[in-house]
């Protein structure tokens, strides 16, 4: 008797559970109906978000076309613009691409290294002025480098009069300016990550006779490598999208970065050369968008990290 009841109730229980599950996962049609208005809004916003990007891709495939001709999306699909892009000696796209990778790459690596050094000191050592140092870093962050654009220009032209290889018009000069912003931008972030690496590891290494440099290069940098890579890539994305400083400092067409170089298309004959510009824009954007989507979760958590804590 008892057993029968239990079996029966068990069956009923299962049935009830199943119906519950059904309620949670309705059929696709039902789901669509229920959320129809939500889908409508989402589709509208999605189109708004994606359209300009489709437009530029379509334009880049409109071989030999103009801006006017590109308004009929994907009326033509050919890759001639991509060929033309690399064959304009006055607008050397290949140079711009290499320059961007060089300048942003060196700046990103340099800036990660410099701020990792400083963050290690702040995280692992106790010294007079440590709190003041951290505070200063935060305060320095508040003065965006671009506000000093006049002084940066004046300083670099003065430097250039004595040392032409790091003055106005040089990649090294631009990189130095970017590195100037390194400590302010990344140290505080890395300081947080270094703090999460247990200090006991350092102590164990010290007892085994490791020096501070061995601990830093052999342990901390390796343990933090993934996060350092992410910060480096984010800094790469940021630097490669900089227009103001690069435009200020780089002079010759073959020295420019993508941001500054592509702007020269906008400045003259925009309608005629527009589809070539479009091809350049697509090529310039692809690696950055890919990197960004790849790093999405870090970016989102980085955005939230500080905020949720407060």
């Amino acid at each position: 008797m008892d057993v029968e009841v239990t079996a029966k109730s068990r069956k009923e229980h299962k049935k009830a559970l199943a119906s519950l599950n059904d309620a949670r996962r309705p059929s696709l049609a039902l789901q669509l109906k229920k959320h129809a208005w939500k889908h409508l809004i989402a589709i509208a916003v999605g189109v708004y978000a994606v359209f300009p990007i489709l437009y530029i891709i379509s334009g880049s495939l409109n071989e030999g076309g103009t801006m006017t001709g590109s308004n009929a999306l994907f009326s033509k699909v050919a890759f001639g613009n991509y060929v033309d892009l690399f064959n304009n000696p006055y607008k050397p796209f290949a140079n711009w691409f290499v320059n961007t990778i060089f300048v942003s790459g060196v700046s990103a690596i340099g800036s990660v290294f410099l701020s990792a050094l400083a963050a290690y000191a702040f995280s692992r050592m106790r010294f007079a002025g440590r709190r003041a140092g951290l505070l200063t870093l935060i305060l320095v962050q508040m003065f965006p480098q671009l506000l000093a654009l006049v002084a940066i220009y004046a300083l670099l032209s003065e430097i250039g009069q004595v040392f032409p290889f790091i003055g106005i018009g040089t990649h090294l000069g631009l990189i130095m300016v970017y590195l100037g912003g390194a400590l302010g931008a990344n140290t505080y972030l890395m300081y947080g990550f270094f703090n999460t690496i247990p200090k006991e590891l350092d102590e164990a290494a010290k007892i085994d006779g490791a020096t501070h440099t061995q601990i830093f290069y052999g342990m901390i940098l390796r343990l933090a490598a993934p996060i350092l890579a992410v910060i480096g890539l984010l800094s790469f994305i940021g630097t490669s999208s900089d227009f103001l400083l690069a435009n200020l400092i780089l002079v010759k067409p073959e020295d420019k970065t993508l941001a500054v170089g592509l702007y020269s298309y906008v400045a003259d004959q925009f309608n005629q050369e527009w589809t070539i510009f479009a091809a350049g824009a697509v090529l310039a954007a692809t690696p950055i968008v890919a990197l960004f989507l790849y790093l999405q979760r870090y970016i989102v958590s980085g955005l939230i990290g500080g905020a949720v804590k407060g």
């Binding site: 589709i43 978000a49 530029i56 480098q145 940066i152 400590l183 020096t211």
Partner: protein, 536 residues
């Protein structure tokens, strides 16, 4: 006895364990690398300092030497670990962030700019070299070009212009004189120099253009120049500097100009001669911004638009982001991931390219918006004052809403489920749940980011410069200011893109004002987020 022993053994143990506190005993390889790097740096700095001293930049040279010596000392000395780790970054930060910020502050109090670049000495030197014209009533003279190694000289026929057909000779370093010429009038000879034929003259064309043979014994402060190697003329600087009176005399009309204390030589009737020189002008640039009508008007307009642009952007994008996040924070809503990727795209796409793409879509004649969406209308999106502002806002909404969507979605998901459930049980309507629970919790975590976003957009140079270039130009303004210029683009235009010559001083004064606005707002943001108190 035992006490002493213990003390000794403690000291011994402390000594033995010192490597735990002072960074340990460096390895041989480490020491070699360190010494190599330091020597490389020392060599490079030595080279740099020598160049600096040779250029006469004594102060900078001394400073560089002191800093280099300090750096070497710190790395060779045991201890001082924190400094060892911070110096590389600190040096860059000191120069390219702290120094340039202070330098901006300094420039804001000077008249630095197009007409006032160098020192007073530079200005005087430029005046006496560039402003020059032919000496009135001086003869046109046949010349011959002579060469001795790298040195060029000019043989000048009849420089007295009185019919005496004798030759005079001079070089860049030697005054024009009759004394050095041997031979007769038909075939003059200068010992050591050889005459150049036409071919030879072509070969030294550039040097010849720059050649000035001083000829003060013929006309005051005059020199002989030639343009083609066959005829020469006496030239005189238009302006002559008198060191005793510290004044400048314009030779052509005898007008005198005196140092006006503001970086220029000025005549009694107010006329100034250029170039001027850098001079401290006190608060002139700041008072100009607030009192001079031609600057105050556009400055005020630009400031209002900057605030409006930043505030509207933050509010609207936050609204869009919040709405979408509420829509998407629903686990039963299928296809969220696809929509999400689509909506993140504008944020992932480099902003400088987005601005240029939208610029083409808004193009009045050929753009997609007029041609397709508005069926061939010709609406001046980027050239009408108000439409351009609207276009900028529309584009910035597009650029900004994905960020707001991401942060509000993250913050919404961080709100504990139990809170919402207990609210439901207590009978709160969805509206009440949103207004009384979600929004307040959301704002606590998102507010600092809204402030950051405001500060970012306040200085969103890329968008404005690439989309409208600050235009359309405000023709009523005395400055080169457009209707969509924000403060930072105005700073840029004043410094580098101005019709009337660049004004670094005024531009820096504006950037100092921006700094105070952005700095105080960021400070409020940081105080709210309690970052400052969290430091330990």
């Amino acid at each position: 006895m035992t006490g002493q022993k213990t003390e000794a053994s403690v000291a011994k143990r402390v000594k033995a364990n010192r490597h735990l506190t002072d960074g340990g005993t460096p390895s041989l390889v480490g020491v070699i690398i360190k010494i190599l790097l330091l020597s490389l740096m020392a060599a490079a700095m030595l080279f740099a300092v020598m160049i600096l001293l040779a250029n006469g930049d004594i102060a900078v040279g001394v400073l560089a030497t002191v800093v280099t010596a300090l750096v070497i000392l710190i790395y060779l000395k045991r201890g001082l670990l924190p400094l060892k780790y911070m110096i590389p970054g600190l040096i860059f930060m000191m120069i390219f962030q702290v120094y340039v910020a202070l330098y901006s502050g300094f420039i804001a109090f000077t008249n630095y700019g197009g007409g006032h670049i160098g020192s007073k000495e530079d200005a005087i030197a430029v005046m006496s070299q560039t402003g020059q014209e032919r000496v009135p009533d001086s003869p046109e003279m046949e010349i011959r070009v002579l060469q001795n190694g790298d040195e060029l000289g000019l043989l000048v026929l009849a420089p007295n212009g009185d019919g005496d057909r004798s030759w005079a000779f001079g070089t860049a370093d030697q005054e024009l004189t009759f004394d050095r010429v041997a031979g007769d009038a038909a075939s003059p000879v200068v010992p050591g120099f050889e005459e150049l034929n036409f071919q030879g003259i072509l070969g030294v064309q550039n040097e010849l253009f720059d050649l000035r043979v001083p000829a003060q014994s013929f006309y005051p402060s005059a020199f002989v120049i030639t343009k083609d190697g066959s005829y020469g003329y006496f030239y005189q600087p238009t302006l002559a500097y008198d060191p005793q009176a510290d004044s400048v005399l314009r030779i052509t009309d005898g007008k005198e100009f005196f140092d006006n204390g503001e970086g220029n030589f000025q005549a009694s009737d107010g006329e100034v001669v250029y170039p001027g020189w850098r001079e401290m002008v006190g608060f002139d640039n700041f008072t100009k911004a607030f009192t001079e009508e031609r600057i105050r008007g556009p400055f005020l307009g630009v400031t209002i638009w900057t605030f409006a642009f930043a505030i509207i952007t933050v509010l609207v994008t936050f609204g869009m982001g919040l709405g979408l996040a509420l829509l998407f924070n629903d686990k039963t809503f299928r296809g969220r991931k696809v929509y999400r990727v689509a909506m993140i795209l504008p944020y992932a796409f480099p902003a400088f390219l987005s601005a240029m793409i939208w610029r083409s879509m808004f193009n009045e004649k050929y753009g997609f918006i007029n041609q397709v969406l508005l069926d061939g209308a010709s609406i001046p999106w980027l050239t009408d004052e108000w439409l351009a502002k609207l276009a900028i806002l529309l584009v910035n909404f597009w650029l900004g809403f994905p960020y707001m969507f991401l942060i509000t979605l993250g913050a919404l998901q961080a709100i504990p489920e139990e809170l919402m459930e207990s609210a439901k049980i207590d009978g709160a309507t969805p509206m009440q749940q949103l207004r009384l629970i979600k929004l307040p919790l959301l704002l606590v975590s998102v507010a600092p980011l809204l402030i950051t976003s405001f500060a970012f957009n306040f200085n969103n140079f890329t968008l404005i410069f690439l989309l409208t270039g600050g235009g359309p130009k405000n023709i009523d303004a005395g400055l080169n200011a457009g209707h969509t210029d924000i403060l930072i683009t105005l700073v840029y235009k004043l410094a580098f893109n101005s019709g009337e010559g660049s004004d670094f001083g005024l531009a820096s004064a504006f950037s100092i004002l921006i700094f105070f606005v952005v700095g105080s707002i960021s400070y409020l943001g940081f105080r709210r987020s309690r970052t400052l108190e969290d430091l330990n």
